[in-house]
Symmetry: C2
Subunit: 279 residues, 2 copies
């Protein structure tokens, strides 16, 4: 079951899966899709992946619990177990994401589309909430979501001066991502996102990027930037890249994550039934 | 700073602290109060305490995450750290509860009003949500809260046939507690409690106790029972005793908890600002 990503791309466009189910997108990932999940399975929760060695698992979970805005926990697997039990019944964390990264001693060691060869018995997988989950609601409020109307575009992410609460070896600043928000809908945007703590909740800052330590807004660490016009403002949300950045800074001997924007898509819909972590 | 509980009881009545702050009740516990916290500091979150050896901490936290109804996590302390950092700034988990229990190999080994001699560097303290937190709201809806109008009375708790999701050595049935609810306010009671997932959220069952495996409702495992009249129904909520029962069943070499109904009272008010685990 080798992925033939380049060939798949020719046949399949992201927007064909805009309103597909989470299960359909995961099936696509297992059989060849190795591109970003932005704009796909709209209205479903997407998730960040962080896999850490078991001896770091308690400290990492503690870090997530103490920093619920950047690290909302959706599900944590038993050590060595690749099977997701709650947010996507029967899915396999080793194959069902489009693209993975492996870091060793805090440095990128490789990018993979399947990690079955790399997933060990002492690995613990964390699925953490992702902001893509609320894209559909924001789009309905009139917020620009760059990848909703075309195949490309990605939001910018930035290191900030806001420090996370420490836990064991894990500490460091929050990473935030930027949305350009029309001033006319700023309040409903705050209200709406605040209702979804498992997708990072409300923003952590609105206005001048320098107030949260971002010196050059035009140069995101990841993604793209366009300046707001006079009717718009900068608004920042806690980003799910934070736990990865913190684990890298701790020089963890091993960390496996999704590649940026190449997320795990769950079976849980926004506004779905209240069950498990969603109750 | 020896406690002179019996003497204190003569001078202080629980109802004098009905509308005290969480900090005032903790001060009282440090200086002599060793009785239940039912009906005290109304409107403040109260918490269950479970202290486990560090090598069980990840599995126990995983158990809590997988069973958010009985085990909503308010705060977890660093191994060996007695100081609460978030839900009650600067409070000491070893002295600020009125009464503790120590279990060894699954059996009660003693009851204490102070655990400074027993709290070790490899101990990890978990504060988990408690239903007393929503008593004031239910009372305002017209629900009987037996200890609100007098000094005595306690709700009944029961083992059920509802199994918790397993994590490591931790598995077993949910413990539920019973409230007698007037049928006329059942829906607002469900709506109201559902808004407070950190105080066990909505009920897990309404109606016939046998449907959740309770054979003799007149004999609670803990607490008291009075039958409903024709205008009332039985309603059950997940109980914070569940993690204790599960840890005891696992035969944990050591477990320290609050004594039943002798809770930790936090600084967090229902309807307070959205911060930390309350956001």
């Amino acid at each position: 079951m080798l992925k033939t990503a380049e060939q798949t791309k020719v046949d399949i466009r992201r927007l064909d899966f805009a309103f597909a189910t989470g299960a359909a997108v995961r099936e696509l990932c297992r059989t060849g899709w190795s591109d970003r999940t932005t704009g796909m399975a709209r209205g479903y929760y997407q998730a960040n992946l962080a896999i850490v060695p078991e001896r770091y698992a308690f400290d990492f979970m503690l870090f997530c619990q103490r920093n619920p805005k950047p690290c909302p926990i959706l599900e944590v697997l038993d050590p060595g177990d690749p099977e997701i039990k709650t947010v996507a019944l029967g899915a396999d964390v080793r194959t069902d994401l489009p693209r993975y990264r492996i870091y060793r001693d805090g440095k990128l060691a490789g990018e993979f589309t399947d990690i079955r060869k790399h997933y060990r018995k002492d690995h613990v997988a964390f699925l953490l909430g992702c902001s893509f989950s609320v894209d559909l609601l924001l789009h309905q409020l009139g917020v620009e979501v760059p990848y909703f109307d075309g195949e490309t575009g990605i939001l910018g992410a930035y290191a900030t001066s806001i420090q996370c609460a420490k836990a064991g070896v894990f500490s460091g600043p929050q990473v935030a991502f930027l949305r350009i928000i029309p001033k006319s809908v700023l309040i409903p945007v705050i209200e709406t996102t605040s209702r979804y703590p498992l997708a990072h909740g409300g923003p952590i800052h609105v206005g001048d990027p320098r107030e949260i330590g971002i010196k050059d807004i035009s140069r995101p660490s990841y993604g793209e930037y366009r300046p707001p016009n006079e009717e718009e403002v900068h608004a920042f949300w806690s980003c799910g890249v934070t736990p990865q950045a913190v684990a890298m800074a701790a020089g963890l001997p091993e960390l496996i994550s999704h590649a940026p924007a190449h997320m795990f898509v769950t079976d849980m819909k926004l506004g779905g039934p209240a069950t498990g972590p969603f109750c």
